[in-house]
Amino acid sequence: MSVTATQKRSVGAVLWDYLTTIDHKKIAHLYLIGGGFFFILGGLEAVIIRIQLIKPENDFISAGFYNEMITMHGTTMIFLAAMPILLGLMNAIMPLQIGARDVSFPFLNSLGFWLFMFGGLLLNCSWFLGGAPDAGWTSYASLAIDSPGHGVDFYVAGLQIAGAGTLMGGINFLATIVNMRAPGMTYMRMPLFAWATFITSVLILFAFPALTVNLFLLMFDRMFGSAFFDVALGGNTIIWQHLFWIFGHPEVYILILPLFGLFSDVFSTFSKKRLFGYTAMVFATMLIAFLGFMVWAHHMFTVGLGPVANSIFAIATMAIAVPTGIKIFNWLATMWGGSITINSAMLWALGFIPSFTIGGMTGVMLGSAVADYQYHDTYFVIAHFHYVIVGGTVFGIFCGLHYWWPVMFGRILHEGMGKLTFWTFFIGFHMTFFIQHFLGLMGMPRRYWVFLEDQGLDLGNLISTIGAFFMSFAVIVFIINIFYTAAKGERPSPDPYDGRTLEWATASSPPPHYNFAQLPLTRGLDPLWIEKMEGNGKMTPAEPLGDIHMPNGSILPFLMSLGFFIAGFGFIYQVDHSAWYLALYGGMAFALGCMVVRSFKDDHGHHIPKEELEREAD
């Protein structure tokens, strides 16, 4: 069953392996590849936007194409790049951190990935089929129901499919953390990244269904003639805004909380200190998640909900600064007096603190309902959310990739190139977005195709675009680094950073597909560090060596997702010609048929015999 890394396999065998895999580590690879692909795509869209805005009244791209660019940049980056990469990191690391051999639902895990991938592909097919969605990533109904062509239909169908996949991922992680923690791994001994995965999954679980419903409403209105947003028949477009932000605000915490956990682990590892205020960090994360559901209307201050509603949501919004502040200070206190190692992973973590804090501060400014009337829909908002999403999420993703690359791929990324990536990206990021605060305050509205000359906006936009080139350079260096590392990278020991948690306690790097031959016994927070301090150097097993039960791979998740992908085209085009119902029903029937096969065919998994484990240990 197990194939050692040294054996060469044909391309076809590797491809089939990845199409059918239900191993959480390989699904993580798939998420990183898929998310990385969409990250590059979204990045190119961003560069095109910035080139269009490099000078006043530029005509690099047309107004309609610009609308498609901004819509797809936002949608791609959030749903198809940031979230999948985060799900990839969670998949790769969380089961190891809690000492599990796999996740609770390996099959669902694979299905979640393929739904995301096919949803993303469906959405991007729109580029070649008459135009991408153009109603903004928020796709406000008043604009979206009248958007001509099929662009918005692709948005609806693509996100519906990808969103279902994300929801499955969330449920899977929750059940995994509740049921599969290794002996001794109590909740309050879990590393912060595992905690963040848990809390993020709660957010996914309770936020995504609101988007599901919203997308259904828009789909019914656009494709089946219902009247949710049709004012002439009594509809109300504000419903879209509410449901979108009831989903959308927790979504921004889905994007940042996993990285809060990751940074906690990184600061602790590279400061050689236990995380300062572990309990406070856990509860601050919970509090942020809880408050994240209470503040959606701060995106809607100018809608006219009235002063009482605006005040309540303004206060709730500002309250989030408290637990976030606790986290910032705890990270600083973790480093205080520590023996700090500065490498490329740590650089990203260090760069994150000031960048994210600026984003948080502008967040409090935006949270003031009265002042928001001035900031609303200007570049100030653009600057704010790029400071938190790039300065938090993207910095965190780079940090996590550099930190966990050895666990995920068994190689260590090149340090020099890693540092070059960090510094060019860090400088480029601040160049691009810091100046946008002032562009916004000077009145430059977001989503405008051109701006006029001599309004004080020329220089700021030029600087901003140059910054975007710096960031592009950094990403190119990072991609070169990946290929260089794959070819010539150093093969590290399983514990290259003198780690503290269980992902560094595996037998090899990358870990064997069953993770741990014997589940480790956790004796406290930072379990590996405890064993090191007591002179053991490795984890004490919690069980005798025995047969390991592992699930079987399956092609069904891929096929099911393919069915929904085909059905998606059916839904989109049935308004033009009823022959497309064939694709709709055919795709749905195919997907449901796969489900019936899955239900009717018993799958008991397989055992890895004890003898094989002993052989591999030698």
Binding site: V178, F206, F228, H604
Partner: protein
């Protein structure tokens, strides 16, 4: 856990649905799934409440709803929840044939409910010209109640598949969690109906 002897023990444990790790995972996973479903229906209820008076000169709720039929539907669904409890009781006592019997009754009651709902919708459309497209109220009504009906239909397919697949083999630790998760799902559908009965029909008639 894959060997047949471990899934078919000599004596069944106290809670066969939670005796294996797979069973515990299914149990926990379904509860989380129902949490997500609760938000899904909450969003639909919110939409319905916002649009329930937006009749756009079409039929209003108090003109079309008939509480008699809705009462029958409520009784059918509430009873089916009770019968699924009986089924789970017999599962825990390892009495396979009685469990199958009560699940069969549950499915029949569900079919009865669904038939009533289809009749109800057809009645509104033919009698009053009240459709999915006639007003925002119509869209919201058919979407909310239809989503619930769709869940009932899915549940029926689920339990019938389970009964067919396991017809020729008894209860074991592999299929006990599957029956149990169906039962949990079925209760959830029932709870949602209680809210629909209150928010849509009672408030629509007298509110």
């Amino acid at each position: 856990m894959s060997h047949d002897h471990s899934l078919n023990p000599e004596t069944m444990p106290q809670d066969p649905e939670k005796a294996t790790l797979e069973g515990k995972n299914k149990f926990m996973g379904l509860w989380f799934f129902l949490g997500g479903e609760a938000v899904l229906f909450a969003s639909l209820f919110g939409t319905y409440l916002a649009l329930r008076n937006s009749t756009a000169d079409g039929p209003a709720s108090d003109e079309i709803f008939g509480l008699g039929l809705v009462f029958v539907m409520t009784m059918l669904l509430l009873t089916s929840s009770l019968t699924s409890v009986y089924a789970m009781y017999h599962m825990k006592n390892n009495d396979y044939s009685k469990m199958v019997l009560w699940l069969g009754i549950t499915a029949l009651l569900g079919v009865g409910f669904l038939a009533c709902e289809i009749y109800e919708f057809a009645h509104y459309i033919t009698e009053y010209g009240f459709t999915f497209r006639s007003s925002a109220f119509g869209s919201a009504f058919y979407t909310l109640v239809g989503f619930h009906g769709g869940h009932v239909l899915f549940g029926l397919c689920w339990v019938i598949s389970l009964l067919i697949r396991n017809a020729k083999r008894g209860l074991n630790l592999y299929n006990a969690p599957k029956f149990n998760t169906f039962s949990l799902y079925w209760h959830f559908i029932d709870v949602i109906w209680v809210f629909i009965f209150t928010v849509v029909y009672l408030m629509g008639k007298v509110g």
